[in-house]
């Protein structure tokens, strides 16, 4: 693995001086060897992602345009699965519910993540590192755990209800704490917040103290500084956090399954069912791509509007 040839000019000079056999020079000059070395380094990772991610996504997309007959997928081109996804009432309701939940969860996550990163950056400067580290630990501690533990926390015989009964505040368990849309949003936010913090934090690091001071100096109050300088400068990070959270929420399967209940169901559950129980890959694929397309459209609109508003 050669990592030495960092500057093209220097390489050319040195490569020439080092002198290869005449045959070698004819086949590959210094530049060619450098390109080959770089290619060999970046090649495996690129090929791997291309073969095991892009190719599967392409196959997955093709499936959405094909048909199932007798539990076999046959290459008959059609748009039936998409038509169904977009016109069938139950699918439309499902999609709409997914967007509501993903929208709520991503707004909550990005909002709290921004508030957290902003507090670290401007109010608790000295504690930035340890507090950020705490969030990173949360990010790597148990995706499934963060979902199913809420059943122990909020369930009918869970900690919160036991405590409320023990204190004599309630006599019956509060069953609205779990298995509904609100619960799905809160639980999604619980594991999306750590993901959302890092990009926002990074964006706020790019807002330099001098820029804040300059805005103050030129007549801005705290709010003016926030809206005219801090928010626009941090906007790319805020947007990225929110979009990441939105996509992750829209494609989640575990939360609606474990704590969503009847009105907290989402596309992910149905997609999984079409793959695991119906074996109707085309329908599942069409649902997945419809969700992806709708999500990306929403994300695009937010990006456009956000960029216009925060300037």
């Amino acid at each position: 693995m050669s990592v030495t040839e960092a500057r093209p000019g220097a390489t050319a000079a040195r490569g020439g001086r080092r002198g290869q056999g005449p045959g070698g020079r004819r086949r590959l000059g210094a530049g060619g060897r450098r390109a080959l070395a770089l290619g060999l380094q970046v090649g495996p990772a690129t090929a791997f992602v291309a073969f095991f991610l892009l190719a599967p996504l392409v196959v997955f997309f093709l499936y959405s345009l094909w048909r199932v007959r007798d539990y076999e997928i046959v290459a008959e081109w059609n748009l039936d699965a998409y038509k169904q996804a977009l016109t069938d009432d139950s699918y439309r309701r499902l999609l709409w519910n997914t967007i509501k939940i993903a929208g709520g969860a991503s707004l909550l996550s990005a909002g709290l993540a921004f508030a957290f990163a902003h507090t670290l950056r401007f109010k608790l400067r000295r504690w930035q590192e340890p507090l950020l580290f705490a969030v990173v630990i949360a990010m790597f501690s148990g995706y499934l755990v963060r979902v199913y533990a809420w059943r122990t926390l909020l369930g009918d015989s869970g900690i919160v209800n036991s405590a409320l009964r023990g204190l004599g505040i309630t006599s019956e368990p509060l069953s609205f704490l779990l298995f509904n849309r609100g619960a799905a949003i809160v639980v999604l936010a619980n594991f999306l917040i750590p993901l959302a913090v890092l990009p926002v934090y990074a964006a706020l690091q790019n807002v330099r103290d001098a820029e804040i001071e300059a805005a103050r100096d030129l007549g801005c109050g705290s709010w003016g500084t926030f809206w005219r300088v801090t928010a626009p400068l941090a906007w790319p990070g805020i947007f990225f956090s929110w979009a990441l959270a939105f996509l992750a929420a829209a494609g989640d399967y575990v939360v609606p399954q474990l704590v969503g209940g009847a009105n907290g169901t989402m596309v992910g559950v149905v997609i999984t069912d079409t793959f695991q129980t119906d074996y109707n890959f085309p329908r599942g694929a069409a649902l997945a791509f419809t969700t992806l397309l709708v999500s990306l459209t929403i994300i695009g609109i937010v990006r456009f509007v956000g960029g216009k508003v925060l300037r």
Partner: protein
């Protein structure tokens, strides 16, 4: 300015409590001497841990998870480090394209990666197995490795490699004696975080495991019959491993470098 920012601390405290409440809850009830995985706490016991290390279903899952984590992390670290080293030296335009390319696995929801891999593997006749799970985990950990090591390389002055060459080192010597020691902490932390990610990964594993279940898949299966203390103990074991890995990784790299 002088008074302590009480509101700020209240907010940060509340948020961290929210984030860690489920984790604490699971760990706590894994020690509960009761068949029900919920309040009240009847006493402390290690019997649930004894169970997960003796019951074949759980030990198999632990072995599978360990195997998957180690293999996928090794592959990701080798391929990812090589790619990161090339990315800092390729022409800017190519780097921009490739950087975008390697973000794809981070952005596409895991569910879609899982079902896409399932479609793909069945199409090309690749048997669903631990190997398939490993492939899925390499996909999600590669971007992490490239990001971590890339961040470290970005903060280095690579002309020191030329200096090393100028002072008589060969290419491999310059790499081994100058660059490698400097990026070694980043490599180790990338490996640890890859292991943590892999051990925790659920959705892709769910779709492509083909019967060779990893720990999260077993936990999820157990949840159908309700949360049990043994499930909590199993989850806590994985939690302990991932948190430990994250703690060590965090000591090795500056968060500020990464958050950029």
């Amino acid at each position: 300015m002088r008074r302590p920012p009480i509101l700020a601390w209240l907010f940060v405290g509340a948020l961290l409590t929210f984030l860690f409440a489920p984790v604490v809850c699971v760990v706590l009830f894994s020690f509960n001497d009761s068949a029900a995985a919920g309040p009240p706490i009847k006493g402390l016991t290690l019997s649930w841990y004894r169970e997960i290390f003796t019951n074949v279903e759980y030990t198999d899952a632990l072995r599978n998870s360990l195997q998957v984590a180690l293999i996928s992390a090794s592959c990701s670290v080798v391929a990812g480090t090589a790619a990161a080293l090339a990315l800092v030296r390729l022409p800017r335009r190519i780097t921009a394209v490739l950087a975008g390319f390697f973000v794809v696995p981070m952005v596409v929801p895991a569910l879609f990666i899982g079902v896409a891999l399932l479609s793909f593997f069945t199409r090309i006749g690749f048997e669903l197995s631990l190997q398939a799970v490993i492939v899925g985990h390499i996909i999600v950990t590669l971007p992490l490795v490239i990001a971590l090591i890339g961040a470290r390389l970005q903060n280095l002055d690579l002309s020191m490699l030329e200096a090393a060459r100028d002072l008589g080192a060969s290419g491999p010597q310059a790499f081994a004696r100058v660059l490698l020691p400097l990026i070694a902490p980043a490599i180790v932390s990338a490996a640890l975080l890859s292991i943590a990610t892999s051990a925790d990964e659920f959705i892709i594993s769910l779709f492509v495991n083909g019967g060779d279940q990893t720990v999260p898949v077993v936990i999820f299966g157990g949840l159908r019959t309700g949360v049990t203390p043994a499930i909590n103990a199993l989850a806590s074991t994985i939690l302990a491993a991932t948190v430990l890995a994250t703690l060590i990784a965090g000591r090795l790299v500056s968060l500020r470098d990464v958050a950029r």
